[in-house]
Amino acid sequence: MSLTFCGIELRHPIINASGTFDAIAAQRAFGEQLTEHFPFSAFVSKTVTLEPRQGNPPPRLWELPGGLLNSIGLPNKGLAGYLREDLPKLAQLPVPLIVNVMGFSSEQVAELVQAFAPRDEVAALELNVSCPNVETGLIMGADPQELSRLLERVRPLTEKPLIVKLTPNVSDVAAVARAARDAGASALSLINTLRGMALDPDSGEPWLGGTTGGASGPAVRAIALAQVHAVREAVELPIIGMGGVQRGRHAADLIRAGADLVAVGTESFRDPAAGSRVAAELDRGLAPVRNWG
């Protein structure tokens, strides 16, 4: 059941979605068992930014019907802290490491890409482009031209696979996918969370400290499937599909719709070992079609 994705050898097609599994914290909670039964075939880090961020004020979570709305705000130690404290630990994981990075300008993204380019511990980079470019005010991943300019700037900086993580909050995801391909993306991942909001039942004020948040989980699965399908019709790049995967059949659906790998996000919150479970269910042939391997 092993496969190759952008030249990376993987044991199975199930990885984690960025920001939904902290391997270092999970080791504190589960001890050595985590490494013995590591649920994913590659580990994707939570988004790393240039500067440290403490994230949004709580509350950060709101439960949806079949889903979750989060406004975490990308807390992280910043590039330097990540390189110093996290990377050495993550390099010990039994699977390849994909580092997810985000910048608020193409210069910031370039700096991040450059910093990871020489790191052998890092198998690939995932670019989170769901944030506004402070220079143009546009969400980098919502506008094909904006995204092209970004990729043209950073693509030459590394030989590593550059996975572009698309935002689902667009009218034409295929157009963005084509722009990413033309500007040299090695692969695409989708979907990121859908913009949503909740009000405090008592006060009527926004519940989330960050006012709006991102919806994930089963509630967005059909939307993810449609977007993966639309992107697959548009480009031949490898695709990491995600959004609401809970079971092998959901992964099989995404693969059927065009994904090469499938990431499990919110479901890991319900079942920390969801990744292995989904991989096993997929392998047991809950999948009507298996087009990998």
Binding site: G19, T20, F21, D22, I24, A25, A26, R28, A29, F30, G31, Q33, L34, E36, H37, K46, Q54, G55, P57, P58, P59, R60, L61, E63, L64, P65, G66, G67, L68, N70, I72, P75, W207, G209, G217, P218, T266, S268, F269, R270, D271, P272, A273, S276
Partner: protein, 270 residues
Amino acid sequence: MTAERVHAPFGRRAATVLAREQHGAYVVVRCEDPAGPRPQAGQFYMLSAAERWGGGEDERPFLPRAFSVLRAPAAGRELHFLIEDVGPGTRRLCELAPGDQLQLVGPLGIGWAPPRRDRTPVLVGGGVGIAPLAILQDQLDKPHTTLLGFRDGAHAAGAALLRNARVATDDGSTGHSGLVTELLRETLREDSQVEVYACGPPAMLEAVRSLCERTGTPGQLALESGMACGFGACFGCVVATREGYVRLCVDGPVLDAARLSTALTPGAGH
């Protein structure tokens, strides 16, 4: 008393409900957890019903819910949880009957630190926050004081789950009429060589914290916040400490009172 975080087995596992007992406004669910270790007092579990977790108010619950372990008798494999019905998740759990299956992940988090040699533990609980004090009592091998506060008589029925507790109720129906923190203030006045173990609603914890601060009393507070995962994956459960945000599920739920400038955590629920 175990001083260290007990690791959880990796993943979610099934546990069979052995009994459901009503204690006034609370329900105690006892289950059998053959595959899990004995938890540290103050640790918690993420629970969900194996069947029909969903379809309640607003088409919820969806995520598992956090519960302190109430009791984990050293002999055997039982885990007891104390549950108050405050929404769709707790409602579903309160309905569980013997033979039903729970899904659980745990024990999680860091529980109570063992008592200091030179101080008398004072356990302060409010409402359903008495849960982690019961297992603490079970494991404390030195004399201690237990002060519990409840809204009313129906809730004060929960006091029977602990030993030798002094009770306060808001409506005066049982014990002291007023806040449990009034009893704490009294205790601190009588004996300065105490340390506090507290769990309860934010307002109570904040009163305890500020009493500890003002009197220089060491205190441990078991906090609550909305949790999606319980094992550090989502970064959703942060509370503000003097050092910045910490994830309550991996760095708590028990925090040293001195680390907080307030225990009034937004969105903690109740």
